[in-house]
């Protein structure tokens, strides 16, 4: 299992299937640290900014205990040697930006919610990040780095050693520490530095005779380090997105795993050393096996530098489509919180370097059926952008988009908007693409049959019409629902064009201020055109009368129509809070208002159609019946409106009100859980289908047997008959040999089972009796084994008697 802190939640992933197995919520603020309970590997501690430490059973996702500490907790460390206390980083009282490491005594008690305010400060002036503190071999010492100082505190001797490096940046060197880890078996501390060096400190008991050696490969800051379980290998990663493995602390032997996609943020090693994983800045976890091969990746929503494409919904997969890796388009499934696939649009090697001009994807549009995809890419140069319009066709056999037409420089200046004509019933011939550009024109692109027999494809796209209006820059475009009208906004004016003849039908204007967004009403409201202006007006024009129907004073940043209903969502931004208004164009009163939606500015929004219309209990959320609204804020957090807020408010475990954070992008730390147990389970799973039916029948007796502690069990000879009887009932009518085989199989199965159930039994018991219980289960399984062996012998004798 891989456990990862993600926003307010702790997520448990399966290492083998990449699936999110469990989502453990309950913290009221960002989860800052997670640590496996060193005394019970089925349990997990998590700390949060809300000042609580929670103990979880991550197998079942149950919170066991909550310890309230009080102050903000910025990091959490658990030690095997410290019996009932954990270490946390807390802000120092009365001082800003100074932090201290303190140990918290976890009070023992029966209840679920406990107070543990017993804090004792261990180290002062530590860094706030999890990576700045590391505990050494068997918890003998703690190392902390901040700035250019390394502090080592020995618990037994109560000795604090400080080592400082020079602050002078010579030859591009930068000695500031970025991370620290300790060797698991030896007295060795590895530190990463801002200039890419790794220093291995030794002999740091001695204030004077300390010594260090240097490993240097990274050209920029070392983001994180991790020692292997035995300490023979050291992994390091940084912005190069290359994982480096150092052998035996020597600078000559190193292995690389390059092209990991994006800068490495965290590195973690599984407790059995078989796997390691890296967490990347673009919100992805890569799992790597021990021979430094890429194994698999857990991919959430990729955090790209800038979402220029907007949130677009793929009509085919209902996935959210937006910028992913540089130059790529990601298809993100909202249901499974997974990336479906990533489409390389720019098809150029991305080179990581500050200040380099890169080509990136800026606009995306889908046709109504999702068969055509139009993308626009441009280089980052402001004055003379290198533009390319690409049209992709969805290839049914390849199950992906295939490039159909590439148009170089479709406009002379930046493309501001792009849309397809949405006409479901008219087939492919009516498909029209409209692009608007800052070069004051809008262009209409149509499909033409290719006459050239050598061409590989039958159709391609070409420009059909170029329209302009008074030499104003075209900013937005939008088709009406039936596709007969095209609205194009030119700075302050909205123009409406007939899509058959390309005649200018009428214009609307609401000075002052440029038009920011426009959209047509849907269904019953299709005669309305909605526009939002820069000066904070939302206007609704009636297309039949060509007059303003109503207008409202609202600083709209996002205007998004629901494709399945007549509702339109508008998100306004006013004095550091976003508010959501949902209205129907035919009436100026909003259907729904949600003030103070979030603190961040909402940049984009999208309605995603639901698979099946949801039954709404309250009138208030009726507009969310057919589709769900998603927002993307400027911190790249994706949010959605939840309709279940009322029920959720009743349960104490969840604090979420109306806004539910679906995917926060700042996972804070992670660690790899027990892999061994997973495999044991898997083995059991493999065996299951074969003897499934029989096992079920036998199971009550077996279970009873296995759940009883060993010391209360009667003698094995007494149990035997019951046990055998329980096994025999199901197969009276089978031939002797078959039965023998099956019994044998079953006994094996039972052995497997017994192992498994021991563990589960163990989990359910109180943790304080762990050691005792461990012994007991050990005895239990031994006695069982004996029993089972006896059964086998007995069985044969019984068969021969037949």
């Amino acid at each position: 299992y891989l456990i990862c802190a993600s926003g307010d939640f702790v997520k448990v992933y399966s290492v083998n299937t990449e699936e999110t197995l469990r989502l453990m919520g309950g913290h009221a603020d960002l989860v800052t640290g997670i640590q496996l309970n060193p005394h019970n590997h089925m349990q997990l501690y998590s700390s949060s900014l809300d000042g609580t430490i929670k103990l979880w059973d991550f197998m079942d996702g149950i919170p066991i205990k909550t310890f309230t500490v009080g102050s903000k907790l910025l990091a959490l460390y658990a030690l095997a040697s410290a019996e009932d206390s954990v270490f946390v980083v807390i802000p120092k009282k009365g001082e800003r930006d100074t932090f201290q490491l303190a140990s918290v005594k976890l009070t023992k008690g029966a209840g679920q919610d406990l107070e543990s305010k017993e804090l004792s400060v261990v180290l002062d002036g530590v860094g706030a990040s999890v990576k700045h503190i590391a505990f050494g071999r068997e918890g003998a010492y703690v190392a902390s780095v901040k700035g250019v100082t390394l502090q080592v505190y020995f618990f037994k001797r109560k000795l604090l050693n400080r080592f400082s490096l020079s602050t002078i940046k010579t030859k591009g060197g930068d000695n500031r520490f970025s991370c620290v880890v300790c060797h698991p078996a030896e007295d060795c501390i590895a530190t990463g530095h801002a200039d890419g060096k790794i220093r291995l400190w030794r002999n740091f008991h001695n204030k004077k005779e300390y010594t260090y050696s240097t490993l240097h490969w990274h050209h920029d800051i070392v983001m994180d380090l991790a020692f292997s379980v035995e300490g023979t290998r050291l992994l390091s990663g940084g912005v190069e997105s290359v994982l480096v493995q150092w052998h035996n602390e020597s600078s000559c032997q190193k292995d690389f795993l390059p092209r990991l996609g994006s800068p490495i943020e965290f590195i973690s090693m599984s407790s059995d050393g078989a796997l390691s994983c890296t967490l990347h800045t673009d919100n992805r976890i890569t799992i790597i096996n021990s021979n430094l091969r890429f194994s698999r990746s857990i991919q959430g929503l990729i955090k790209s530098r800038d979402v220029k494409t907007g949130l677009v919904v793929d009509p085919r997969t209902k996935a959210l489509v937006l910028n992913g890796e540089p130059g790529h388009l990601q298809f993100y499934s909202l249901q499974s919180d997974q990336q479906l696939f990533s489409l390389d649009i720019v098809q150029r090697q991305y080179i990581h370097e500050a200040g380099l001009k890169q080509s990136d994807l800026v606009k995306v549009a889908f046709s109504a059926q999702g068969t055509w995809l139009a993308t626009v890419e441009e280089s980052e140069e402001v004055a003379d952008p290198e533009l390319q319009l690409k049209l992709w066709f969805y290839h049914e056999e390849a199950q992906s988009f295939v490039l159909n037409t590439r148009i170089n420089t479709p406009h002379d200046n930046h493309i501001t908007d792009m849309c397809f004509r949405d006409m479901d019933e008219l087939g492919d011939d009516s498909l029209i693409l409209v692009t608007t550009g800052r070069d004051c024109v809008f262009k209409v692109w149509v499909m033409v049959e290719d006459t050239d027999p050598e061409a590989q494809q039958s159709v391609s796209w070409t420009c059909d019409f170029v329209g302009s209006y008074h030499n104003y820059q075209a900013t937005n475009c939008c088709f009406s629902e039936d596709g007969s009208l095209l609205a194009v906004s030119f700075e302050e004016t909205v123009t409406v064009w007939d899509s058959l003849t390309w005649d200018l039908k009428c214009t609307f204007c609401h000075p002052p201020g440029n038009i920011r967004k426009i959209c047509f009403g849907r269904l019953t409201c299709s005669k309305y055109l909605i526009g939002a202006t820069d000066y904070g007006f939302l206007c609704c024009w009636n297309l039949l009368t060509c007059a303003l129907e109503w207008s409202a004073h609202l600083n709209v940043v996002v205007l998004q129509p629901d494709p399945l209903s007549e509702h339109i969502a508008a998100v306004s931004w006013l004095s550091k809070e976003s508010s959501l208004f949902v209205f129907k164009p035919n009436e100026p009163r909003p259907v729904y208002i949600q003030r103070n939606l979030c603190k961040e500015k909402v940049l984009l929004a999208a309605f995603v159609p639901r698979d099946e219309p949801e039954m709404m209990s309250s009138e208030k959320y009726l507009w969310l019946r057919k589709s769900q609204l998603f927002f993307l804020t400027d911190t790249q957090e994706l949010m959605t409106l939840s309709t279940k807020s009322l029920e959720e408010r009743l349960t104490p475990s969840s604090k979420q009100l109306a806004v539910e954070e679906s995917l926060p992008v700042t996972p804070f730390s992670l660690l790899l859980g027990k892999h061994r147990r997973q495999q044991a389970q898997e083995d059991a799973d493999l065996g299951k289908p074969v003897v499934h039916s029989k096992q079920e029948k036998a199971s009550p007796a077996v279970k009873e047997l296995l759940h009883t502690p060993a010391h209360v069990l009667p003698s094995a000879s007494f149990l035997c008959t019951i046990f055998i009887n329980s096994l025999l009932i199901s197969k009276e009518n089978k031939s002797a040999e078959e039965v023998a085989d099956e019994v044998e199989m079953e006994s094996e199965k039972a052995e497997d089972d017994s192992d498994e159930e021991d563990v589960t039994a163990m989990e359910q018991e109180d943790t304080s009796h762990m050691e005792l219980l461990g012994e007991m289960t050990c005895k239990l399984s031994k006695s069982q084994e004996k029993e089972l062996r006896k059964i086998r012998k007995m069985d044969y004798s019984w068969i021969s008697a037949f």
Partner: protein
């Protein structure tokens, strides 16, 4: 302050000789250094690393190895096949004894300083006894094929390790037999290159430390013949190695000019288990570091770039002072240039010849720091080759510029210089 004309003398093309070997005095107050031209220098640590003595080189004598023995006696051995004792008061090579095994590649003295062991081209290791007034051949140890490039005594004096190409061997001194022969290149079979053991050391614990041309420093158990640890410190060859007296620190010189320190550190606090760890790299030299030495407080390295670098170990220096400063000896400490003030002549001393130059002159004056145009370029007047195989020890030109004198270790020469216009003639006096 008066006005000065500053001459930029860019025509003294002295090529200093590289450092070939270093020998630290066992008591740690003196350092002997041999250069590739055969010159031997003695530095005094106590007197602020002062260059006390210089014994000029000899054409027929190259020094491959130096060692201190029997108190303050300094012995050198070289490819000429002779073992030479240096007369430190008379600053000359005193007596030479033929080693009898061809060119000598290495020579070490035992810890008491009573015996010298030499490693020869023919693969023999010979023991010489140091007697008052000279040395005396004692006996031959087991001879194997392959030149012996490096030697090391066990501190107790019972065994010697001898490194040669592809292998090293451990020799029992009393019986003279090879007790262990260890191949060093068995791990890099596919490379099929020969692996030269450039330096070796035998520690009192019985560990053999070898530095080879694959850039490895390896620690062997000499009784079992097994490899204990291997540190690849460099991608190029490691050429030299020196162990501190406490045997807890090793300095290694490589052919890239970098030196590395390896330290014996406890694996755990308070634990018995210790391990060698490569700790500090230093890059002071531009070329091969042929010689390193380990004094109690400093790492000393000398390279083919003719630099001698003394890097103090900060943790061993108690107080801040002259001892705690990194020292580099780049310039020669002796006077190699003499000036005839009136005649505006400069005499440059090279190891085997002298050069007499006339300085350029100008008629203009200018402000501070201005470059004045020359009306007469500096002129090379004469090159005077010294006679005989001995190198020049010192030289001088008289202020009037008419007399030039130089001396070697054994003779003194005086010349009279006649300058008439452009023609210059020399006459031996």
């Amino acid at each position: 302050m008066g006005e000065f004309e500053v001459h930029r003398v860019r025509f003294f093309g002295l090529v200093p000789a590289g450092v070939r070997c270093l020998a630290c005095h066992p008591r740690g107050d003196r350092l002997a250094l041999a250069r590739t031209d055969g010159a031997v220098e003695v530095y005094n640590f106590a007197a602020n690393y002062f260059q006390e003595k210089v014994i000029p080189g000899h054409e027929a004598r190259s020094v491959e190895s130096l060692c201190w023995a029997a108190g303050d006696r300094l012995f050198g051995a070289g490819l000429s096949g002779d073992i030479t004792e240096y007369d430190l008061s008379g600053l000359s090579a005193a007596r030479g004894v033929d080693g009898g095994g061809g060119p000598i590649w290495s020579m070490v003295a035992n810890s008491t300083g009573t015996e010298l062991a030499i490693g020869c081209e023919d693969g023999s290791v010979k023991i010489f006894q140091v007697i008052p007034g000279g040395i005396q051949f004692e006996r031959n140890l087991d001879r194997r094929k392959g030149r012996v490039l490096c030697l090391s005594w066990h501190p107790s004096g019972t065994h010697i390790v001898a490194g040669s190409i592809d292998f090293f061997r451990v020799i029992d001194v009393t019986s003279g037999q090879t007790v262990q022969r260890i191949m060093v290149n068995h791990q890099v079979e596919k490379a099929k290159r020969e692996c030269v053991v450039w330096a070796i050391a035998l520690l009192s614990s019985g560990t053999v430390v070898s530095a080879d041309s694959f850039g490895r420093v390896q620690f062997w158990d000499w009784e079992q013949g097994t490899l204990a640890e291997s540190h690849t410190v460099s991608t190029s060859a490691t050429l030299s190695l020196a162990v501190s007296e406490k045997e807890d620190s090793i300095v290694v010189g490589t052919s890239t000019g970098a030196t590395y320190q390896l330290q014996l550190l406890p694996v755990k606090l308070g634990g018995v288990e210790k391990r060698w760890v490569r700790t500090k790299p230093f890059q002071f030299h531009s070329h091969d570091v042929r010689a390193v030495a380990h004094s109690p407080t400093a790492l000393i390295s000398g390279g083919l770039d003719a630099q001698l670098v003394i890097r103090p170990l900060m943790e061993k220096v108690q107080k801040k002072g002259y001892d705690a400063v990194l020292r580099k000896f780049t310039f020669p400490h002796r006077r190699l240039v003499s000036c005839a003030r009136k005649a505006r002549l400069l005499l440059f001393q090279f190891s085997q010849y002298l050069e007499l130059w006339r300085l350029g002159s100008t008629e203009e004056t200018g402000k501070d720091g201005e470059v004045l145009p020359l009306c007469r370029m500096p002129e090379h007047l004469v090159q005077l080759k010294s006679k005989g195989p001995e190198h020049i020890y010192c030289s001088c030109v008289s202020p009037c510029g008419t007399w030039v004198g130089y001396s070697t270790a054994s003779r003194f020469h005086l010349y009279r210089v006649h300058c008439d216009g452009d023609s210059v003639s020399l006459r031996k006096v």
